[in-house]
Symmetry: C2
Subunit: 350 residues, 2 copies
């Protein structure tokens, strides 16, 4: 459990992603009804548009986007790696061009703290360099040194005690670098610890290895956040390896392409087999969508490209994720996690 | 006031348009909260996809789309005119090709009644031919004769007394044809009377003239529906000329292009002047959107092409329309309609 100025977060927790200040197609009331305890917003995106100073002027992100619960903002490191153009990494920070208008920007660890301070986020992240995959050991080491230096500078720049600051461990697929990363972060001392550079193309066993190594070192009484994880099965594997915070665009992105999560695996709503299907997406799901709509109607909306399709699909998928986390938490409390995992895979296969 | 099997409709009434079985981006609960008493769905679209037999199998449109209130379905005449390809008008009905897949279809007045019977609509419309504008007198007369014949056949085919059947008066911009159309419909006898072929390119004064002529003839104790009208000011003008039912895609379509209706006229949310604007869309509006969101945030969502922008904009615009109708009804009850109209134009100009 995590206590923030805007509410309690039960862990393991999933954070729906509101990249630009909205969890796509959903309102805050929807998210509350679904049981969302924390959402994530992207520093890179909100810094570029509408800008951190505008958000500050509005009294912070909570007020700007009308969300009362806790917020985590990332550091922008991943987006600078995946979206920004002509990026140049220097000792002092990152120079890059906006993917929106090509304008030039320079972000330092201190600047990123300041930006997130303007947002008023409950949880803020240190600027890091997210190296691509594959990358050779010497680059990974050099990059990690930079990320660790930046973590130290971020800690020094962090003055607002209403905000929890998390450090990010990088180190690519190299166990000793991951160990060094985790140990350095502990030495600096953070409110929570994150594992970055995951799901960038590395084999799954390397993802699990990185999470295991870091979580062996990270203190157990601090939240441990596996960034960008992932599919339900990936979250489950990461929880087993000690991670307790997650974010991923999958539930909303899959919703927009018509892939729905169910207790029996994924369902592709556009399939012809659902044309006359009077059942809800998932008989066992208690969400608003499953209570009121048939697969046939949802298929009709989706193939007709109706906006309501994306909204109802997103609602269901986010509900699925939050309910899945609830089930994981219950399984942990009852000491049944291994059994839960076994059942999960059995049902997915059937 | 109109009493239907699914509820009461206070007139003058505006019907939000749910072309394909959803009022774009809004749920039935949204529409209920906003105060929607009736929605319109398009026979042409729903006949082509998902098909009237599928909808019948689901127990009708109400159950299929999860809407408890009254429904009006149009006859498809206007869509065959505006959307269908290779249409050929015969004495017996219309042959056309689907705008979706090019498949060939033949709709007769009887078939259109049968389709709407499968939908279970509360109010159904007779098949008509909607002639283009401009059109010469002889074609308009020939077309009208056909529409009137079809109205007679529709009446004969109408057996389900849970459904109110409305006739449609055509006649283009020719006063004597409009008079003849209205008189013929009364002779046949309908539960309500509609004025079709409006807003197809004719000058505004011709629109008002057609409405005036028909409403002079239509009985006062029956609902009189001015089809496809329109902007708030057009609805007001039509109400003054005796019309009491309206439908238009404008509130939702304008929402998707960022044009918002307010008590002081239209507002284009993408304008730079709203970048830092902390005010709601309309200070005097009591809708959910105006209670919780600033113009700056709505502008941010809109220029970022976030799905939530279309949803919130649609919610506000539909609320505006329904509230506008409520104000018109109150003005009528108080005998203040002329004053209401004067004030409306004063405020729009300021």
């Amino acid at each position: 459990m995590l206590i923030t100025p805007h509410g309690i977060i039960h862990t393991p927790a999933f954070m729906p992603v509101g990249t630009l200040g909205s969890v796509k197609s959903l309102t805050s009331e929807d998210l509350e009804t679904i049981g969302t305890e924390v959402i994530l917003a992207n520093t890179y995106h909100l810094y570029l548009r509408p800008g951190h100073l505008l958000i500050k002027k509005f009294g912070g992100l909570h007020k700007f986007i009308h969300w009362k619960g806790p917020f985590l903002t990332d550091s922008g490191g991943y987006q600078i790696y995946s979206l920004a153009k002509k990026r140049e990494i220097r000792e002092e920070g990152v120079v890059f061009r906006s993917h929106i208008d090509g304008s030039s920007h320079f972000l330092t660890p201190e600047k990123v703290i300041e930006i997130q301070n303007c947002f008023g986020s409950d949880i803020i992240m240190c600027l890091d360099e997210c190296p691509p995959y594959p990358i050779d050991y010497s680059y990974a080491e050099k990059s990690l040194r930079l990320t660790t230096n930046w973590a130290g500078q971020s800690k020094l720049a962090h003055k607002n005690l209403n905000q929890s600051l998390f450090g990010i461990a990088q180190g690519s697929v190299y166990p000793d670098l991951r160990r060094r990363a985790a140990a350095s972060l502990i030495e600096i001392g953070f409110d929570g610890y994150a594992i970055g550079g995951l799901s960038v193309g590395e084999p799954k066993e390397k993802t699990w290895e990185a999470i295991e190594i870091c979580n062996e070192i990270f203190p157990e009484d601090r939240p441990r956040y596996a960034m960008g994880i992932g599919l339900p099965e990936d979250i489950l594997e990461a929880v087993i390896r000690g991670a307790d915070m997650f974010d991923c665009v999958v539930p909303t992105r899959h919703a927009r392409t018509g892939t729905l999560f169910t207790s029996f695996g994924k369902l592709t709503i556009k399939k012809a087999q659902y044309t006359e299907d009077e059942h809800p997406i998932d008989e066992t799901c208690n969400c608003y969508v499953c209570k009121h709509y048939s697969r046939a109607y949802l298929r009709h909306l989706f193939i007709s490209q109706e906006l309501l399709a994306y909204r109802l699909n997103s609602y269901h998928n986010v509900y699925y994720y939050l309910n899945f986390m609830k089930q994981i938490r219950q399984a942990i409390l009852k000491g049944h996690l291994a059994e839960f995992r076994k059942k999960f895979y059995e049902v997915q296969k059937s």
